[in-house]
Every structure is written in C-alpha cells, then in structure tokens.
C-alpha cells in the first residue's frame, strides 16, 4: 500500500509528550496504557572517556554507555501522530533530555510518593527549559497517601503547575492526565502570546 492519506503540502504532523520521573516510577507503564503499539525502545550511544575511578588510568579505553528510551504512539488522524517518550532512567543523560524536550507539547513528571525526591531533577529541568509540565502522583497500592498539598509543598511546585493523582496502569486515568498536559500547554501558549481569553475553537 502506498501511503497517500495526507495533505501533500502540509504532510504528516507529529507531536510528542514527555513522561519523566524516577527509575521504576511507572513511565513505561504509563506510555503502554494508551499506546497503540507495545512500547518500543530506542537506544542512543554515549561514549565517555575512562574516568579513572576503577583504576582505569592504566587502560586508556573509552566506555560506551547505552541510553535507552521507551516510547509509544497514538495515531490520531491520517496526518497527525502523537508520540509519548519516557525519559532515560538516569537523569545524568541530559543530552538526551535536550533532544526529547525540543518541540514537545509538554511533559508529565510522574511521582512515586514513596520516593518523591526522585522528582527534583525533572522538575528543575522542565522549569529551566520553559516546557509546560504537570506533576502526576502515581497511586501505587499500599503507597503512603499524601495530601496533594503536602506534596506540592515538599517539592516546592509553583502554584501555576497542575498537580494531580493518576494511575499509570489505567488507560482512562492516563488519558485524563495527558488531556491536562495539553490543556496546560494551551494556557501557556496563550500566555506566551499575551492572549488571555481562550482562542475560538474550530
């Protein structure tokens, strides 16, 4: 089949939303809950010089580290695809984050209330890079339940940033979370262009 179901001039548009958070918080689960494909993994290679920590000074070799990112896809129309990218597990791979956030609609910072400090790095990053983001508390079974306000205070989340509860395993909950991200991005865009009132729809 030849793919021709799109406007030749405008082509196929893709959008992306970034899902960040600490290791094991449920980023890939969240992507998988709404993705039409089983989440895929793409790998980037990072070469670092031997740091000398493990007596590597005697072996002047380089080390290649693989940075893996899981992602999913939602085909919304013949000419519109939404991609959901999970950030690499270790936040030290900032070069990959730069690529991930470039042109992104917005981001979700997924928080495990048992390890809320894992959220500091992504929160800082999105704040600095001016990307619209929200904070979603992943409600694990048996996880200590905090009041939303407690978490906001503990993480010093600005009042302008939405904070909500979600369940990364449930499609409906994830869908609502993503809807909030886009609505937040729309508010941020109106603000950026100094348009206070909602733009007419249609």
């Amino acid at each position: 089949m030849d793919y021709a179901g799109f406007d030749r001039e405008r082509g196929i548009i893709s959008a992306k939303i970034v899902v960040a958070g600490g290791f094991g918080v449920g980023k890939t689960t969240m992507v998988g809950a709404v993705s039409e494909i089983t989440p895929l993994t793409t790998e980037a290679l990072l070469t670092t010089a031997g740091s000398g920590i493990d007596d590597r000074s005697k072996v002047p070799e380089k080390e290649t580290t693989t940075v893996a990112m899981d992602f999913g896809r939602i085909t919304m129309a013949e000419d519109l695809i939404l991609y959901l990218f999970g950030t690499p597990g270790q936040t030290r791979f900032w070069f990959m984050w730069d690529e991930l956030v470039r042109g992104a609609v917005g981001a979700v910072v997924l928080v495990d209330t048992r390890r809320i400090t894992d959220a500091f790095a992504p929160l800082d990053y999105f704040e600095k890079h001016n990307l619209p983001y929200l904070v979603a508390l992943n409600c694990f079974d048996g996880a200590p339940t905090y009041e939303v306000d407690e978490v906001r205070e503990a993480l010093a989340i600005p009042a302008s940033v939405p904070l909500l509860m979600t369940d990364a395993r449930r499609r409906e909950a994830v869908k609502q979370t993503l809807i909030e991200v886009v609505e937040h991005a729309m508010r941020a865009l109106r603000e950026e262009f100094g348009r206070g009132s909602p733009a007419p729809v249609g």
Binding site: Y3, L40, K62, Y83
Partner: protein
Amino acid sequence: MEPPHSDPRGALVRPYAVTRGRTEPSRHIALEAVLTASVQAVTEARFAGHDKYRIAQICQSTPQSLAEIAAYTRLPLGVARVIVADMVGEGLLTLHSAAPAQRFEERMEMLERVLSGLRRL
C-alpha cells in the same frame, strides 16, 4: 593479534561502520519526525543496501518516526539518523513535519487537534 579494545578510536566507532564512520547526519531529523516511502522508492531502495531497503519497507505501509525506525531496525539512534538523512537526500524517503510551527494560530490548532484526539481515546 591485538585485542579489539586497543582500538584508539574507542568503542563508538564500531556501531557507525554501517555509515562508513560518519556520525553527523546530512540534515537534522527530530526524534519524532515522520517519514514515508513510496512504492517506487521501496523498489529503488532494494539496490541501496540492506539497511536502507529495510527502512524503506518499514516506512511504506505506515508512516514511521525516526525513533520507530531506530527501534525496529535495532540501530542506535545516531546511526539510524545518518542513514535516514541520506535516504531523504536520495529521495528514498519523504520527511514530514520538517519545520515546527511558529505562529500562534498554527501551534494552537495543533494543540486543539491533539486534545480532541486524546478525548476520543
């Protein structure tokens, strides 16, 4: 015979053998940029080498992003980007959504469309 790790160029070189050592793509392609291949392009790609032929096949029936191409071919992202950029230059792939929207109206329209797409899920 010397052990392979004595290669002074380091381990990064090997994955890029398929690009003949080139690590810089001929044009920038975003992770989420979408690519398609026409039937004719797939036929042409048959003679362009294994990787290019596979990529063209992947992009024929369904539009695929650079990230998907890398995942399906199991090529590292940087390697896939070099090959895909070459294929765009050679007319074997069509690159979509090359320039991100700048104007308020365009960006808002895109967000509106994503929003209604999510609501339909």
